[in-house]
Symmetry: C2
Subunit: 570 residues, 2 copies
């Protein structure tokens, strides 16, 4: 009785506290619109919150600037990004129940800095702010002329550079370098990748000379591009994603604008229950830029629970709008009757520690991607960011193929809803769907240079576990997809299964494509193989004539090595 009384007192008291738990960043010594470095204030605020009952941190509407000098630091491994010792503004570790509300503020970042890294946290909400950089990690040059020996480009003052030892090097005001990888041509009028443009060159400084202030001649033969179009020199590395989430539960991103970052917009790994609503990824209006951020708009590896992306615009980014998948490790050595050495093979997956005692792993042939056994983990020893030794509760199967078979967690399979989104004008594809949970993709608009929706996954190069089980694609508009080189149909199954193994595989299952509208300029609508259960019904297909038809003899449906296929054309 007495116990209950004190418990009630506690409840009343904590209720009182929670009603007063909003705090303003101004309390920590920063004022909006003054150009000062707001990073130390965030540091202080997060330290304060750690020991006080604060549930909401607000930024009075205005501009805030963030610099790396006094930012927190942590070595961060984020799947499909580059690992490194990073400077981080909002480093949330083990935080529970916090909302950060920008109230419409603009957050400007400077240099190599990561806006949000959220690890081991619960119920975090981010809302109403924009993310941008003063100096982008990529650079954009307008094509003045092209000939067989080189290309003349015009750079605005947004993209400082120097010619160093005969090489074009991009820098910022402080002289910090911004190394570039692929070069890609964009059509600035359409704000999309130029028709059938492909990546040119990768990852070395290119020989160049300055022909006038802001004008550079690239001394590289056989470059392709149309004068008036824009060449984007993309960031070589993915070091500074805007929001990177690991091992957390309950993330809500509401009304965020991510105009730029040096990586992905929102990337989550080994996390569950993620809601994204009214996200805008776009090249900042009025900035003159054609590129928004330098990799995927969103990306999810080994996530589970609920995953929703609603009412969002994802455009102009250098890679897909989303990619939802698991991670395969390769079995590289047999250590005992029950133990193996496994390797994270892709260099942007290193440090992805998902194997724990008790984890159930599927054992998969990398040829067909079909699972042939399931093993439960007894003991794990992480050797380094690439290699882990794993001991199972029972003997390994006899047919284990060392250096070929791969393994992945079978429990991580979010239920996905992607609804009322606009997905367009980026490099590559729209949605890469690889969850084995229930997936609903409806009422979206797609205008992507590759496939609007791709079912990918492979065990030999990207090491991404996919293989859907229950997907409904309905009431979407696929408007002139495939105006670039990154696909061969509006909806495509492009798993990394070689032709000879496709008959033996049914890696993806139960895909229903219903009541969508396809506006096409070449015939290709569906390309699929190794699918069990593919239904196409109630869809409308119209010819747009908006781009050249380079495949007049192409087929609407290229469906091979599939079972349970029903295609009903109107």
């Amino acid at each position: 009785m007495r116990k209950n009384f004190w418990f009630l007192v506690f409840l009343v008291f904590s209720g009182t506290l929670s009603a007063q738990t909003t705090i303003s960043i101004e309390k920590f010594g920063v004022t909006k619109d003054e150009g000062q470095d707001a990073t130390p204030a965030v540091r202080k605020a997060l330290a304060y919150i750690r020991h006080q009952p604060v549930s909401r941190l607000i930024f009075p509407k205005g501009r805030y600037d963030f610099y790396p000098e006094l930012a927190s630091e942590k070595y961060v491994f984020t799947s499909n990004n580059d690992d490194g010792l990073k400077r981080i503004v909002f480093l949330l570790e083990g935080v529970s129940g916090l909302e950060i509300d920008g109230q419409g503020s603009e957050f400007f970042f400077h240099g190599y800095i990561s806006p949000f890294v959220i690890e081991g946290s619960k119920n975090i909400t981010l809302r109403r702010f924009s993310v941008d950089w003063e100096r982008t990690f990529h650079s954009e040059g307008k094509i003045l002329s092209v000939d067989k020996d080189g290309m003349d480009l015009q750079f605005s003052g947004q993209y400082p550079y120097k010619i160093d030892n005969g090489m074009l090097v991009f820098i910022d005001k402080k002289g910090v370098e911004y190394p570039y990888g692929n070069l890609l041509e964009f059509d600035p009028a359409k704000r999309e990748t130029a028709f059938m443009a492909r990546d040119q060159y990768f990852g070395r400084n290119l020989p160049a000379r300055e022909i006038a202030p802001g004008q550079v001649r690239l001394l590289v033969p056989d470059l392709e591009g149309i004068p008036g179009n824009v060449i984007v020199f993309n960031a070589l590395h993915r070091l500074c994603s805007a929001i990177a989430v690991s091992d957390s539960r309950g993330l809500r991103c509401d009304s965020l604008q991510i105009y730029h970052c040096g990586g992905m917009g929102i990337v989550a790994q080994r996390s569950r229950d993620i809601d994204i609503d009214h996200l805008t990824v776009t090249a900042r209006p009025g900035s003159g830029r054609v590129l928004s951020l330098t990799a995927d708009a969103t990306h999810f590896a080994n996530c589970s629970g609920r995953l929703r992306i609603l009412h969002s615009l994802m455009e102009n980014q250098m890679d897909d709008a989303t990619n939802i998948h698991g991670i395969y490790v390769q079995v590289v050595r047999r250590l005992s009757a029950t133990g193996v050495l496994v390797q994270l093979k892709h260099e942007q997956q290193v440090g992805f520690d998902f194997i724990q005692p008790g984890t159930r792993l599927e054992l998969v042939r990398s040829t067909t991607l079909e699972a042939y056994d399931t093993l439960q983990v007894q003991r794990v020893e992480r050797i380094n960011k690439e290699y882990t030794s794993v001991e199972f509760t029972r003997a390994l199967p006899a047919g284990l193929m060392i250096g070929k078979d791969v393994m992945a967690d079978i429990a991580d399979r979010p239920d996905v809803i992607i609804r009322h989104c606009t997905i367009q004008k980026n490099r590559a594809r729209g949605l890469l769907i690889g969850s084995r949970g229930k997936v609903i993709i409806d009422s979206n608009y797609f205008h992507t240079p590759g496939a609007g929706i791709l079912f990918e996954g492979d065990g030999r190069y990207w090491f991404e576990q996919t293989g859907v089980r229950d997907v409904t694609v309905k009431d979407n508009v696929f408007d002139n997809c495939n105006y670039g080189v990154w696909g061969n149909a509006a909806i495509q199954v492009g798993s990394g299964i070689e032709k000879e193994y496709q008959p033996a595989s049914r890696y993806n299952r139960n895909i229903r494509i219903l009541h969508n509208t396809f506006r096409v300029f070449d015939p290709r609508v569906i390309h699929a193989y190794s699918v069990q259960g593919l239904r196409f019904a109630g869809n409308t297909i119209t010819e747009s004539g908006d781009y050249p038809n380079r495949f007049p003899d192409g087929k609407r449906f290229t469906i091979t090595d599939c079972s349970g296929v029903e295609v009903e054309e109107k």
Copy 2:
């Protein structure tokens, strides 16, 4: 009584154990001379030792190979080296009382791997093994010809390369790259830096074309070099020192041969009681190499207690034989009446966390390097690898100069003995002596292209705290020092104090130079400023004529702004 009895039983029992505590690496699955990767065996052995009473790990005499794939991993900050997430073979953390005895074995390392990282350990002995790499971090090319537009070089198969996009890139068998920094000319007959050779170029791939297999023309104008000499392309980074020790007590290195590593031979920081005996640093005999390791042979930052280097040969390395100093942080911001923000300014000093509650710091003018106050630390918050906020037990002095004054620990001052060593044929200087403890340098042989002994230290560029208090230099031979560009006398005080501040400073004190022999080819023997107490007596100076005398009008003694000077010439 009963208690004492059991204590005696314990003593006897533990005595019995310690008599049986030698273990062989063979127990952990590796056999000498078989070329297999011995790294996992070391990992297992160190894990075993952690829970068993082992005091000695032996390697039966033979060859052992170590690869990075299955090595341990840790983010390591080592002073005056490059920080990074490193693969480490012998990672000793919190180990107490262990001897690793190679019994004359040869340890060969492959790729980006750190042989020994020892942190927070006590009484560690390393003995009787050599350290080398199959593919060195630097590359060496023999000069075939030189003209104003470029230089033709011949590379042996030891130094694989490719011409990538018109640029010379060094690689190994696996295609891993080895970026280069400075280029330096060596005389292969003398196995020393070429007379008055200086560093050329820094840190970018250079344009080149292959003119025949193994022959490359560097397309760089105005390169200097004599046909027949060797150009060393030094490693751009210092990532893989052979033995890196932090926060440890009691290190003994006995009879080690370090033929190569991608950094320093033995580097210790914040550690005490270090004995080095019969160390050999040299370009591996018979290898054809002119360079041994790519930075200093040994290096000590903020060490204390005993520091001895005896009976050692240190030659052919890319930087000094040793450098003993403390680290200055710069005061960059006043945070309160009692608190400041300090910064580790040099990029190879980041992560050097030496400030703890209770630490006594001297407050120093960066102009004169004179301390003007001492403060005791109350509280410390490390912000990131560069910045730390420090609160003191009392108010800051009024005259504190923000962005100029520096601070360093006053307690770290080892007593140094360097005796019976040969120090020669490297790039730069011999001994950089910056300890405030008692220093004895006797019975050594010096033949260095810069000063044999340098008293350096500064608060504006290298941020190295020195300022000796009690140094005896006796019975050494200085044989034709200063045949290169890195000094202006056999013994030199070169602290970073600008001319106008030298009269006001007595940064170094009590240097006695007694009974040494100086063989010189130009007149310069002593160059000193801002010293209190300098005695030169009983020394012999003879003219060698072994190199051209470029300073016929030079003076034997250039001693300015010093007090208590006694020079007795024989």
